[in-house]
């Protein structure tokens, strides 16, 4: 029959229309469908039905651990009264060398006698250029630069606000543990194993073979990220 196709299509639309209310009813006794973290996770998940809208900024989707946005620098826990602790960065420059759009500028620290000091004097990231690829965090041998989850970076003036300096970039390690707990744990473990392997290397009686295995394990942990 001519017109059957259109009617069938309208049926699909009607089904969607009805379904969008069914899910509302299901959540009535459980705190409502909107502005409810539990409901948000379900309706955005693989079993979600009905309206999918997220009411940003009142509602925000939880970020997966690996979510990557403009990087930040990791420091030790800050001593009381200060905002940052000791930098983990040794200004080795690998992040600046691997950065595809070349948005990282590092000025290496200098000792009084002019020799390089393993910490950055200045550290800049031009977030207009940064393409959020995550290479800096991936290749940093000291876990000193990590990708952030803070995506709300809009500002009124791109000329002054979009070059982040060391002060703006530094965040304590506790922040990283908060946003990526599993990954931080795995990295911690990998670091400990590397440390242990190093100690064994110094000890001349150590068994070289065992040490190689633990290095391989550490490497695997590091690159698999979550196989902790």
């Amino acid at each position: 029959m001519y017109g059957l196709g259109i009617i069938k299509g309208m049926g699909v639309v009607l089904r969607h229309f009805v379904r969008s209310y069914v899910d509302d009813v299901k959540w009535v006794n459980k705190g409502g469908r909107y502005y409810n973290d539990e409901a948000l996770l379900v309706r955005q998940g693989p079993k979600g039905e009905g309206i999918k809208t997220v009411f940003y900024p009142e509602e925000k989707l939880p970020m997966p651990e690996r979510f990557r946005f403009v990087p930040f620098l990791v420091t030790d826990e800050p001593p009381p009264g200060q905002r940052w602790g000791h930098d983990w960065c040794t200004s080795c420059g690998i992040c600046a060398k691997v950065c595809p759009p070349q948005c990282i500028w590092i000025e290496r620290g200098k000792q009084p006698n002019g020799r390089p000091k393993p910490e950055p004097e200045k550290f800049f990231i031009d977030i207009d250029i940064c393409m959020n690829c995550g290479y800096c965090a991936e290749f940093c041998p000291f876990d000193a630069i990590k990708m952030d989850h803070d995506y709300e970076l809009a500002s009124y003036d791109r000329r002054t606000a979009h070059i982040h300096d060391k002060e703006r970039l530094s965040k304590p390690i506790s922040y990283w543990r908060e946003i990526a707990p599993k990954k931080a744990e795995a990295e911690e473990l990998a670091r400990q194993m590397a440390e242990a392997a190093k100690a064994k290397k110094k000890d001349k009686d150590g068994d070289g073979r065992e040490q190689r295995i633990s290095e391989a394990v550490a490497r695997q942990l590091y690159y698999q990220g979550l196989q902790y």
């Binding site: 196709g5 069938k8 595809p100 070349q102």
Partner: protein, 605 residues
Amino acid sequence: MSDTTLDPVTTPPPVDTLTPAQEATARLKELHPNIVSDDTREGYEGLIVYADSITEVAKSLRDELGFNYLSSVTGVDYLEEGKLEVVYHLYNIARGGGPVVLKAQVNRDEPVLPSLTPIFPGADFQEREAFDMYGFNFLGHPDLRRILTWDGFNGHPLRKDWKEPFYEEENKPFGSRWPDGQVFRAEEHNPYGKNVQYPPGWVPTGDEYDVETDVYLGLSYSRDSTPGLKTDKVTVNLGPQHPSTHGVFRMVVTLDGETIVDLKPVMGYLHRNHEQIGERNTFNMNMPYTDRLDYLSSMSNNLGYAITIEKLFDMTVPERAEWIRILMVELTRICNHLWALGFLLNDLGALQTPMLYFYLERELILDFFEATSGARMLCNYMRFGGLAYDLPDEVRGVPTLKFLEELIFNRLPSVLDQGDDLITGNEIVRARAIGVGILTPQDAIAMSTAGPLLRASGVPYDIRRAEPYSYYEHLDFDVAVRYNGDIYDRYLIRIDEMRQSLRILEQVLPHLKRTMGAPIIGDKPQYAMRAPRAGESYGRVENPKGELGYYVTTKRRSGNPERYHVRAPSFINLTALGPMSRGYKIADVVAILGSIDIVLGEVDR
């Protein structure tokens, strides 16, 4: 699925017979002994052809040897030897297999050689691109104008002695970043208004017609087409700022009433010279840039580039990584086709509703990509010899494999069925789409179209079968094909392809379970990789939009490619847009363009 198929994958030893490409190469040397010779440079393969006779060789390849598909045409600059080279990759559509590679070398100062457009109309845009980037003068090309850069562009940017207005260094990483990095913004050194040079004798008039005379003069205005009422032909610019062009893309059309007399696509508004950026970059750095080509299917772009470099570096990929790669690529195909169909229906006037229904499921795939790679669209997930990360533990609070099973066995098939119910039988869509924008199989092959566009015209050519890469030869799926070559078939074939992708995904899932915990990358990735050998490498994959190829050459121990070329499917598929639209109404053009499915990030590069 039986247990036998779950055995670890082993590749059978190569059979000792000549491939179609080897056969054709040997035959060519017999046919044209004085014209062709082997490329003897270390790491290179193919045939060097005497440039003036390239048409003869191409003709015998097409007519006698069955290599009737000119896939890629590109230039290479060998500054030290003082030569420019054009590299042609031709394929045998009927028999599949690898390419016959032809190379024509010309003098750098006077790069003149015959055009292949009379034999392969598909060379049209690619030769224009080579002219634009290198300054080749293709004799006999009907419309040799700049294509990606604009008319007032000075020089040919991919020549090795050309420098951009703000030139820092030949290769990254730049010395100014470390150890003494003083931050600056490039625009401070390169202020607006002072960063442009015009070619000698070229004056910017500010009048569009003066600048673009060539575009308008190139159109056909034949006046005797309609008997009876005398009508004027009208030239109309569709775009660049037009919602139906899917980005900044312009079509200059001549109209007779509402009927299209001629159409010329104008592109390059999003041009950033991806290829030159790629030649400045190290091998590693290019990976996130490939995301930005066809930004709707970044995973497939990654795969193509990874395969090309793995060939060059002679790397192997662990089994689990291959399975995850196929998982990602097939999900990307579904993602892309859902998007493409949504927009095609949008263009046909089914505004938003079908599109949003498709997107609901696409969101779930993107959620999975985000949890795995850290980004929804620009994933940057593949590495040379493997992957960046293993699959995550959970996606949106659901264990990953459960999430994937729900997606593959439940959500995605049901959205396809729903799409079928919603649109496939719809009388309005059928009236608009059936018999419109017809592309015959002969034209489709001659114009080098690829992907769904080619297969909807009745040519069952799929690289996953013709020249299998990754583990596709171990997977059971059909090459989707439709025979009418109109918009409606291009719609249907995308649904077919998604169903085939689901079939593949169902086969991949058990392997993911089996290889749980296995390594996903061979060796710890180095941040600075150097090429172990000099030479070239061409890798191609079946992207959702068609054949995506990368041509890379390098020097030994070099950290960056000397030449980095992308054979972009949407760009070359546009060759068919003009011939497909002639004779149809102006409202159909929008739908015909939608059915090609272009992404401007890839067209303009």
